[in-house]
Subunit: 360 residues, 2 copies
Amino acid sequence: MLDLAIVESLEETSKKVNSYIDNCEYFNSFALPEITDGLKAYFTRGGKRIRPALALWACGAVGGDIDKVIPAASGLEACHTWTLIHDDIIDNDDTRRGDDSMHIIGEKFAKSNFYTSSFENKSFGETYSILIGDMLHGISVSMILDSVKVGVSPEIAIEICKLLESNIALSLIEGELLDVKFEYMKLEDINTDLILSMIIGKTAVLIKYAATIGAMIGLNTTDINDKRILALGNFALNIGIAFQLQDDILGLIADEKELGKPVGSDILEGKKTLTAFYALEKFTEEEKTKFLTIFGNSNASPEDVKIAVKMIIDAKALDRTRDMAEDLVKVALKKLSIIEDSKYKELLISFANYMIERKY
Amino acid sequence: MLDLAIVESLEETSKKVNSYIDNCEYFNSFALPEITDGLKAYFTRGGKRIRPALALWACGAVGGDIDKVIPAASGLEACHTWTLIHDDIIDNDDTRRGDDSMHIIGEKFAKSNFYTSSFENKSFGETYSILIGDMLHGISVSMILDSVKVGVSPEIAIEICKLLESNIALSLIEGELLDVKFEYMKLEDINTDLILSMIIGKTAVLIKYAATIGAMIGLNTTDINDKRILALGNFALNIGIAFQLQDDILGLIADEKELGKPVGSDILEGKKTLTAFYALEKFTEEEKTKFLTIFGNSNASPEDVKIAVKMIIDAKALDRTRDMAEDLVKVALKKLSIIEDSKYKELLISFANYMIERKY
């Protein structure tokens, strides 16, 4: 699905970022070896490094030297990673990228090193993952500030670090808190505006940030109101939202083997997606009642799930989400009109289309 | 116990730092009002602001303008605060400075806003305090970098931020992890060297950092090997350790009313203090067995606790700890010999003596 140029560019970015992270001195200064193991664990499991790639492409698209973005792009990936570590505790997710999540790593460490109860091992696992996340947060900040070592001005390094720590990360965490609150709130108190705020905070702002800092470093300016920086940032914001919408669509109708998780699990979990709420808006009271016997009911049968998906499709909610994702990509591509043609601009355009064309 | 000059200077520092934090824009950008409430909660409860004060005094002691330290000192206090928030989850401490700790604030928020079970409210409380701590971490970084707004050079702002995020905070968190591990480890695997490492990491390095950044800003240099910066940093490191040792001593023999918590609670909790382990080193096998029926036994009677304290005193472990604390303060004061006389140097000297003279 991804065209060859993107695949190659993503691989190239991954190599550079992985190598920077591998060689980063900050991971190796601990008396307790389980700290270094934890800090490196998520990075060694692949991941497409989409955010770092966007930062590099945005820099290239404004004519900058992409190698100057490597420390900041690595710090951005480290930021994404520490938020995943803490989210995994909060969401009680026991796996991440096909292996143990951080609190499970900690729990297993306790099990094999101490002689305590399973309750205590679990508690140690949570402690461990809170602290590993906190450490990686600190390392992420330092990586970004290390941009000065590759020729980024101290003023720009400070601006991109502050933009992350006092703005982007706060939105991201607020998005996570809102997502958690959805599980506690009454269904009638949740609406599509709130869900969109959650998606923007939890997913899209960090993607916007990636393109923004790439452009700032590329243009060698702290002026975030520069029109090319705004254009690339808003391009990324829009495709970030589209990315999440496509995720929701695939969660309902993808090929299960390609997706790598059971199709319809969002229905069983009662995940507050825009698509589900578009459907709820359209349902009659009777349909709503029927839908809610399945939505969020972990005991619902596969046949029930199929019925719920069909109800969503019949209510045109899937079409509405798909239209919205397509519109977002169109808006995103328009933003690029002020950017000169280059191979990097081509990569950004292909990537934007991939957001809604991908099948997994 | 604190002399008048210190009391006045601490009050003055508190006012400046509290005012800086109160007016900080980063606390007010949230759609969810419970975030602002949480971020500000611990700051509104007093606290002596010892760390910011040390930063200001160190700056003054090298002839610098102490007002240039306010943003960094506020960021340092915010760093101390976010680590307390996460420690309170980890240590299951339900109060902080006489009021609810952050996870209890979150739990109560859930209780009054959602209609969920007490288990779910508790879980929301943990989520809330993980995320509030993470946000305050980001804000702390931004406050430090905002030093440039009061005339600190970007190079120095970057150095003091990196020093915190890739060094000091990592030691601090490693100290916390080690402290948690003590609860899981066999007693015979713990020794006084390990306990000292824990104290240095968990308490002393952040106090060292306070003096170090004050001196760096005061001297307008990024050279952390400058002899005055090293002197002030090591002064603070030594009094930081002494501070913790005095805490342990007071935990055994203070006046209960002055201390504000039950004397001997460290014995009931089996807290791994240097003093307890000095005693264990001296005990005969018989004494050790007797001591361990009380140490860490939450059901032990007040009489038992008195017996354990007497055993520690008889083993000269309290004297040994007190001697060590006094030696540390002497070493600390010697470090100041290369610093010119000033009212700030006087404050530092008085403060060092206070570390071991304080009764609560």
